[in-house]
């Protein structure tokens, strides 16, 4: 993917190690593009420039500029693409949410999302300011897993929303603790596997199969069982799939054993089949995936997945244009699970490919940081974070386009949801920190 080797001489691109000018330039574009979209939306819907465009653009711009300055100060070697990509995705998300607000006429989601975004950027900057060396985190890997499990279990004590127990409600506020648990678990996985790396080849040998030691196998099974447990208790196929996938990926990165992948996939599929058969909520989703138009044939009108497919179809190659689609047909999850359907309808295949490529670039930059780091923990952490984004995008984008069964997961940066936006910004903050270390390493190697 990257075209360079981590341990070899640094590539030509890093001759100018800082790239902060590039970042600033891209940031300007990343702020202007959503502002332009906001204006286009206003013109399409009401024929006038929307009054909120300036506020929204300024809010995003000020946050981005602040982030840029902190990066310049505290992580000058950080990858110059990470911040602009995150700002652009966040900005497009704000435009899409505002567009959906116009349709629904209920409490608007975009202003709240703007606040959450600012908070998220603040958290990312806090990561940069407080975490000077990512290896510090390794010391807390067991704290991480305990708090992650605590967070994961918390929603069990709250009433379910739309059939899934994912939320913790406190007065007016509600958040998804599973979101925060995501990062904590990646930290734990990376810490655990970096420590267990040396142990990985010392298991008992059973003809052709190297059995792993109990110390390594124990957490694997624990995590797998926990993910199924989470799924059953909270009816959250997405999160458990994500945890499991990330863990398998890291296991492979750490040990290089394809047997791990095979065993993991086997266990994962067994769990999925079991749950898919016996858990009605999940079963329905699989049935919907296999026959998205069944409800139409039954004369009951289009289901949500069918509506999503219609939206993509209506978009065609170039889309209907912002504000000119019919997102209202998708229904209640339009701002969360199905925000990508609106993008597909109004921005078309062209816009969707651009969005997916932005995510791909973000993921690729994450792996690149991993490749550039010297320590196993850092490598695994960066790889885990990048894989988290990649899997999340694949699961939700694949779900709304009918490629795989639909699982309720927020599209990073696009979907409505404070916990999701904040978490993803923290993730970007960590990647900035990791890439800064990697960049510094490359720069030092380049200077004789």
């Amino acid at each position: 993917m990257t075209g360079t080797t981590a341990d070899a001489a640094p590539p030509a691109a890093y001759r100018s190690p800082r790239g902060r000018g590039t970042e600033l330039g891209l940031l300007v574009l990343a702020v202007l593009l959503p502002a332009w979209g906001y204006c286009a939306l206003g013109l399409a819907k009401t024929g006038t420039l929307p009054p909120g465009a300036a506020t929204c653009g300024a809010g995003l711009g000020v946050s981005a500029l602040l982030a840029h300055l902190v990066v310049r100060w505290r992580a000058p070697y950080a990858d110059p693409l990470l911040l602009p990509i995150a700002v652009l995705l966040n900005g497009i998300g704000l435009v899409l949410l505002h567009r959906l607000d116009l349709e629904r006429g209920t409490a608007p989601a975009a202003p709240a999302q703007l606040l959450w975004s600012a908070l998220g950027i603040g958290c990312a900057l806090a990561v940069l300011l407080l975490l000077r060396d990512h290896r510090t985190l390794r010391r807390y890997s067991y704290v991480c897993v305990v708090s992650a499990l605590g967070l994961l279990l918390a929603p069990v004590f709250f009433p379910p929303v739309n059939g899934a127990r994912l939320w913790v409600h406190m007065g007016e506020l509600s958040f998804q603790p599973g979101e925060f648990a995501k990062i904590l678990l990646v930290v734990f996985f990376a810490g655990h596997l970096a420590a267990g790396r040396a142990l990985s080849r010392r298991g008992r040998r059973l003809t052709w199969l190297h059995l792993p030691t109990g110390r390594l196998l124990g957490p694997v099974l624990t995590v797998w069982l926990l993910s199924v447990l989470v799924l059953i208790l909270e009816r959250d196929l997405g999160t458990s799939l994500l945890f499991f996938g990330v863990f398998i990926a890291l296991l492979y990165a750490a040990t290089g054993r394809l047997g791990w992948i095979a065993a993991g996939l086997l266990l994962g599929s067994a769990g999925a089949v079991l749950v898919g058969t016996y858990e009605p909520h999940v079963h329905t989703r699989i049935a919907d995936w296999l026959h998205p138009f069944a409800s139409i044939e039954a004369g009951a009108g289009a289901g949500q997945l069918a509506q999503s497919l219609f939206a993509f179809g209506a978009g065609g190659a170039t889309g209907t244009g912002l504000g000119l689609g019919h997102s209202e047909l998708i229904g209640f999850a339009a701002t969360s699970d199905f925000v990508l359907s609106t993008a597909g309808e109004e921005l078309g295949l062209a816009g969707l490919v651009a969005l997916l490529l932005l995510y791909a670039l973000l993921v690729e930059r994450g792996y690149r940081a991993g490749l550039g780091l010297g320590d196993a923990f850092g490598k695994l952490l960066a790889t885990g974070l990048a894989t988290t984004v990649a899997l999340q995008v694949f699961v939700i984008a694949g779900g709304v386009t009918g490629l795989i069964p639909l699982t309720g997961m927020p599209m990073p940066f696009l979907a409505q949801g404070g916990s999701s936006v904040v978490t993803n910004w923290i993730l970007v903050g960590l990647l900035l920190r990791l890439s800064d270390t990697a960049g510094r390493r490359r720069a030092e190697a380049a200077t004789p």
Binding site: A302, L309, F310, A314, L329, L391
Partner: protein
């Protein structure tokens, strides 16, 4: 660890590829299927998101629109709905469209690329063009339409009137009618109206003028006379024919009789004026099946392709019959059936020297601001239904019917009116209430061309069976329509 991270990156690339391929499939190859899925409401939302173009009669819209502010935003409204329903048809959010609303839908809904300034060019490039709904200017004359509608006065029946020299349809009425307004919108009342209209035994939504065929009865004698005259079977209108009364149907033991008296050996003129069944049955048989079929088809029978632009149910004249069936067919019975529009065309052909111009209902189509997009006109060219001399003879016969025969009630002082009455038997053993027919044309003496041809059919005339006759019930309606046209209202 580096290579393994690369493997993971490669895996992500594969996942991305899968996403891209699947999205491209949805948005490019399956796009059209998804768009046209019956449960996809986008098409109807887009269709109703702007006022539909108007249908005009006599320069005034007979339609309107109502902004409901709902998802399917604009609803169609109709002015004088029941009167114009056989022309406009309905446009329903739930039940689709009919008649002109259906035939001219691309224009009315604004999807016809010709409505846009460079629309044809854009359509060539595969772009979907959406303009403000265009206007459909009909050929209908409101005064004639009203005269016909009020003449029928709710009785089951239909009227078709046209300008025989151009084919322009001046009136198209079916009765009993319905208000298409009832079918606009999405309320429960729409479904109730639909149910009720469909369950109504009087079939108010049936367009009897173009979609219902009737046995034409004696009005068909025009065709038989034309065939006989063209074939040279009869040369002198006033010479006595050798016709028995009653007439034994060839090859059977059944006897055909007359309502009128004095039909034995009557001349063609007298037989026509008093509508002698025996004379025409025998004449048809003598003229022969081939010549009869040819004549009927020249007048437009057995033509399944007629569109005005709504499809017109073909009028029929059998091409394979034995002599007794031919005898009955020659007086408009047996399997012979005709739409009122067909019979108006037939009357018009007589008036214009045998020339038929295909009837049409759309004068022109314009954009909303009046730029003409296309002009109407019947599909297909003109046809010669009979020789001009035959037409002249038939004009004289038809004038006789109105001047002194069964069609006296269609007389208009100072105007040359030709007509033919008909009382069509139908039902098992002719048990049904007979249909009363009247077809006619009118021409002012100082005009070079006839102005109007009309066909009227009344299914269940509110009268005792014995009094039912085209002359008594249908002729006054035809007269009112002709007057409305002649007065230029």
């Amino acid at each position: 660890m580096g290579p393994r991270i690369r493997h993971l990156a490669l895996l992500c690339a594969l996942l991305l590829l899968a996403l891209l391929v699947n999205t491209a499939r949805l948005q490019l190859t399956e796009s059209e299927d998804l768009r046209s899925n019956s449960a996809n409401r986008r098409q109807s939302i887009e269709r109703y998101d702007r006022p539909r173009g108007e249908i005009l009669a006599g320069g005034r819209p007979v339609t309107g629109s109502r902004d409901t502010g709902e998802n399917l935003r604009y609803e169609r409204t109709y002015r004088s709905g029941p009167m114009y329903a056989p022309v406009t048809g309905f446009d329903s959010q739930v039940y689709g469209t009919s008649l002109l609303e259906r035939a001219e839908d691309p224009v009315l809904s604004g999807t016809d690329p010709r409505l846009a300034p460079f629309g044809s060019l854009a359509a060539l490039g595969g772009q979907r063009v959406r303009s403000p709904g265009g206007r459909v200017v009909t050929t209908v004359r409101p005064a004639a339409q009203r005269a016909a509608f009020e003449g029928l006065d709710g009785r089951k029946g239909a009227v078709a009137a046209l300008d025989p020299t151009t084919g322009r349809i001046l009136a198209l009425v079916s009765s009993p009618s319905y208000d298409p307004d009832l079918l606009s919108g999405t309320d429960a009342s729409v479904a109730r109206a639909w149910e009720r209209l469909n369950a109504d035994p009087d079939k108010p939504m049936l367009n009897r003028a173009i979609r219902q065929t009737y046995p034409p009865g004696s009005t068909f004698k025009v065709v038989t006379a034309a065939a006989a005259l063209d074939a040279g079977r009869v040369r002198d209108l006033d010479a006595p024919t050798r016709s028995p009364d009653p007439y034994r149907l060839p090859g059977t033991d059944r006897w055909l009789s007359n309502e009128a008296k004095g039909c034995r050996d009557a001349s063609l003129r007298d037989a026509f004026t008093w509508s002698c069944n025996t004379v025409f049955a025998k004449l048809g048989v003598r003229t022969g099946l081939k010549a009869m079929v040819r004549a009927a088809e020249r007048f437009g029978f057995n033509d399944a392709g007629l569109r005005i632009p709504s499809a017109v149910t073909p009028s029929t004249f059998d091409t394979e019959m034995d002599a007794s069936q031919l005898a009955m067919s020659s007086i408009g019975q047996f399997d012979t059936r005709a739409t009122p529009l067909q019979m108006a065309t037939l009357a018009g052909a007589v008036a214009t020297g045998g020339v038929i111009r295909p009837p049409y209902l759309v004068d022109k189509v314009t954009t909303r601001d009046g730029r003409t997009v296309r002009t109407g006109g019947g599909a297909g060219g003109t046809r010669q239904a009979m020789s001009p001399s035959t037409a002249a003879k038939l004009r004289s016969l038809m004038t006789g019917v109105v001047d002194e025969g069964s069609g006296r009630r269609a007389r208009i002082p100072g105007v040359r009116v030709g007509g033919k009455t008909g009382t069509a038997q139908h039902g098992v053993d002719n048990s049904g209430t007979p249909y009363a027919w009247f077809i006619s044309w009118a021409k002012r003496p100082d005009d070079s061309r006839p102005k109007v041809a009309v066909a009227v059919v009344v299914e269940d005339a509110r009268a005792k069976r014995s009094e039912i006759s085209g002359g008594g019930v249908a002729a006054p309606i035809a007269k009112a329509v002709m007057r409305a046209v002649l007065d230029g209202r």
